[in-house]
Each structure stands twice: as structure tokens, then as C-alpha cells.
Symmetry: C2
Subunit: 226 residues, 2 copies
DNA sequence: GATTTAATGGTATGAACTACACTTTTATTC
DNA sequence: GAATAAAAGTGTAGTTCATACCATTAAATC
């Protein structure tokens, strides 16, 4: 990389930190890793890594995410850059925070162990170092906001799901009970939630209709909200 | 700055770019500067500068802003970090975009000339280089979003203003006509818009009531929206 | 005092959200 | 095979909120 114009300007290590959300039955969860570098070696942190010269910020985040979870079908979005001078006592590091949504069921257990990762309940987070708690709060706020006008939350579920599952998912994210009939009414009005015809009997004797989300149709009818 | 832990990681120039909004009678405007460094020397860009070792990102943005406008009472918020590899042909630079709102009336004309700055109409932007147009779009979207649930737009007006002024301001930002009665109804319901008792006769024979925004009261009654 | 110019104030309609409780289905149990 | 249990599924009335829509008022100018 040529640097003939800006050579006199200071430079900084730049990292990405990914707040990775998963969903388990009825709980929103966040993925942490035991840090394997000093300082704070061994402590829990969001998954992160340093940006390399041959990658964009988004690519760095995607790399960290895929190499440690193996999951490629996910939602990933930047939150904000964090640049306080002493945010990391190990050195001046500017960190760009991301959040991601993925289906835990796709997560390779071996990778989880190999990288020493751990799911934690989003309502019961461990003590966090640096400004990681700020990132967490920002990520949860963004997620809560965004699921009210986009269907990104579905990335937390398998491709097929029941109404009860979506509702539990929304309740977990928004951290409040929702009215069943009103919720189903709204979701039912959206043309891109489609019945597969299949029935899930795993959670009730009666069985629940299984839906899938028609991403193609969604592109044409974005005008409905949950 | 110690760097004993991360010394092997790459490092990058980090810049801030500020999308600065102003308001003039009935137009939303954006401040640009003629770039004074190669490449693209002389072209219009948002106000920007390199982050220094002794400052946070926010501080860098605030510095760029105050040193070139002289204004200290403003709204400043980060948008997002931009890190494409070739976004700046002059070298690898990761830029953190900010947007700011300020009252043009406070702007020192001498500084404007000294730094070769120029207000442009937000609906009639010049050709922009790098990813500056992306930043612009993001800034305008954020602004449009945010004024519907916070009163930040008032930072674009003098401390005292008439109802017509706020309405024109909102119309300029949202780029649509608003119904006068409905607008006044909503604003009137908010306790923190307070009449000063003064009357502005500059724009009408009848005269319009002058209001001010009670920031203290706002802290207690955030539950009203425009 | 006639004219001009912008400021001011209210109502009726439709849309959207909220609250709320019983019936259906079928596997399991006795 | 009748009773039970457990979750899925369904509709309506009330209320709140957003929208559409103009005539009157005040004061300065001529």
C-alpha cells in the first residue's frame, strides 16, 4: 500500500468486536470467548480480532465470525467505532463493533470448544472488560429497534419455524410478553410468512403449523412490519 | 503509548469526516471544504482530518468541527466507520463518519473563508469523491429518523424561534410538506416548547409568537415526540 | 378604511393498536 | 374408550392516534 501522502499522520491498530446473538428455546443469548492474549488473558470477551491490511472492516468481522463459528448464513451489521484512548490497556486500539444474528443449531460444536467459546444468557451477562458492556447495550438496543421494522430476527431461527417460536423469539429480544392474538394477526398479514403445510408435533399434542420465510417475496413487499 | 502486546498487528491511518448540517430560511445545507491535500486537491469534501494519538474519535471530530467553524454549541454524533481498502486512493485510511448540527448564524465568516469552506444545498450536492456520498446519505437518513423522536433539529435554529421556523426546518429535513395545524398541535402538546412572550414581526405584519426550547424541562419529559 | 400577509385554532374520519377468553386438536393416561 | 392435559388457534369491541381539511384574526401598509 502506497502511503506517500499521509506518511506523517499517526496510525493505530484497528480491531473488530462482534456481538453475536443466538436463540435457545426461549432465551436470547450472546457468544463469548475466553480471551487468549494479554492483558486480561482468560477473561470473557466478545469475539474479536485485528483488522488486517488486505481486508475491509466488514470482511474482518465476517472472517472472525466464520472462522470461529463456521456459519456463513448470518446477519451482520456494524454498530459503531469505539476509540477511547485507554479503552484497551494493552495498547491503543480502535475497535469497530458489529453485531450478528445466527442460528445456533448450525453451530459446529467442535469449533465452539476449539475456540473456547461460550453462550451466555443476554439477561445474565458476565462482568465485561474494556468498553464491551457499552457495545453489548448498543447491540441489544439496535436489535430491539430493528426487529420492529425488519425481519432480521428470523436469522436466529431455523429456516422453518412455528408461530409460537417467532413469538417467543420476539418476547426474548424485546424482553416483554406479547399478546398472542395480536402478534399472530400482524404476522399473518405479511404475505411472506408462508405455511409449509408441515406440522410440528414436538411441542404440543395438537401440533403447530410450520412456516417458512419467503425472502424473495420479502424483497417485493417490504411494507409490512412486525 | 506502550504497544508490547499488539506490536505484530498492522496499523492504519484513521480519519474523521464530519457531515455538518446548517439551515437557512427554508433549506437544509451541508458544509464542505476544498480539500487541501493530494490526491483530489481542491475538490469538495466534508470536513475531515486525521485522528491524533492524544485524542479519542469524538474528540477528533469535535476538534475538526470547532477549529473550522468556531462553534461549540452543537450536536455531534457518530454515524459509522468506513474501511474499504481502496476508499482513499492516497493510502489506506479508515474513516469514522460523524454528523453535526449547528446554528449557521453563529458561524464566524472569517473562519469560513480562512478554511475555504462552503455551504451547499442538501438537495443539490456537488459530485463527491471516495465514499463521501455514502456518508451523506447515511447522515441524512439518520437525521430524518432522529428528528421524529428527539428535538435535536433545534440545534439548527437560534435559541429563539417561531412555529413557522420549526415547521420549515422539519419540512426541509424531511423533504416534504407538513400540515400546519397538525404540526402545531403536536408541538403545542410538548411542555418544553415555551412562549417567551416576545413577538417576531420580521416575517409578517401580524407577528408570530417567539418560543424557546426548555432543555431542562425536556430532560424530565422526554415522552413527547414531534 | 381597504388591502395584504402570515399566524392562529378545531373537528370529523379512518386506521391502527390494545385488551381480552374460549374452542380445537390430539396424544396420553387410566 | 373416556377423561385429561397441553399447547394451538381464533374475533371483536373500544380506544387511541394520525390525517385531512379553511375560516378568522391581527397588524402593518397604502
Amino acid at each position: 500500500m502506497t502511503d506517500k501522502y499521509y506518511a506523517n499522520e499517526p496510525s493505530f491498530h484497528v480491531a473488530v468486536d462482534c456481538i453475536i446473538f443466538g436463540f435457545d428455546e426461549d432465551r436470547l443469548q450472546v457468544l463469548f470467548q475466553h480471551r487468549n492474549i494479554e492483558p486480561f488473558n482468560g477473561e470473557l470477551t466478545p469475539l474479536g480480532g485485528f483488522v488486517q491490511e488486505d481486508e475491509t472492516l466488514d470482511e474482518a468481522a465476517y472472517r472472525v465470525l466464520t472462522e470461529r463459528t463456521g456459519i456463513k448464513d448470518l446477519f451482520l451489521e456494524q454498530l459503531e467505532a469505539f476509540g477511547d484512548i485507554n479503552r484497551d490497556p494493552g495498547g491503543r486500539v480502535i475497535s469497530v463493533a458489529y453485531y450478528a444474528l445466527l442460528d445456533k443449531a448450525n453451530y459446529d460444536k467442535k469449533l465452539l470448544e476449539k475456540f473456547n467459546c461460550k453462550w451466555m444468557d443476554a439477561n445474565d451477562l458476565p462482568a465485561l472488560y474494556f468498553d464491551h458492556m457499552k457495545m453489548m447495550k448498543k447491540a441489544i438496543n439496535r436489535l430491539q429497534d430493528k426487529i420492529t421494522y425488519t425481519p432480521i430476527a428470523l436469522k436466529l431461527l431455523p429456516q422453518e419455524f412455528t408461530m409460537s417460536q417467532i413469538q417467543k423469539l420476539y418476547e426474548a429480544i424485546l424482553d416483554e410478553k406479547l399478546d398472542k392474538r395480536n402478534f399472530r394477526k400482524k404476522v399473518g398479514e405479511m404475505p411472506y410468512f408462508t405455511k409449509t403445510g408441515k406440522i410440528d408435533k414436538s411441542t404440543s399434542k395438537r401440533g403447530a403449523a410450520i412456516y417458512f420465510f419467503d425472502y424473495k417475496m420479502y424483497q417485493e413487499h417490504k411494507d409490512y412490519h412486525i
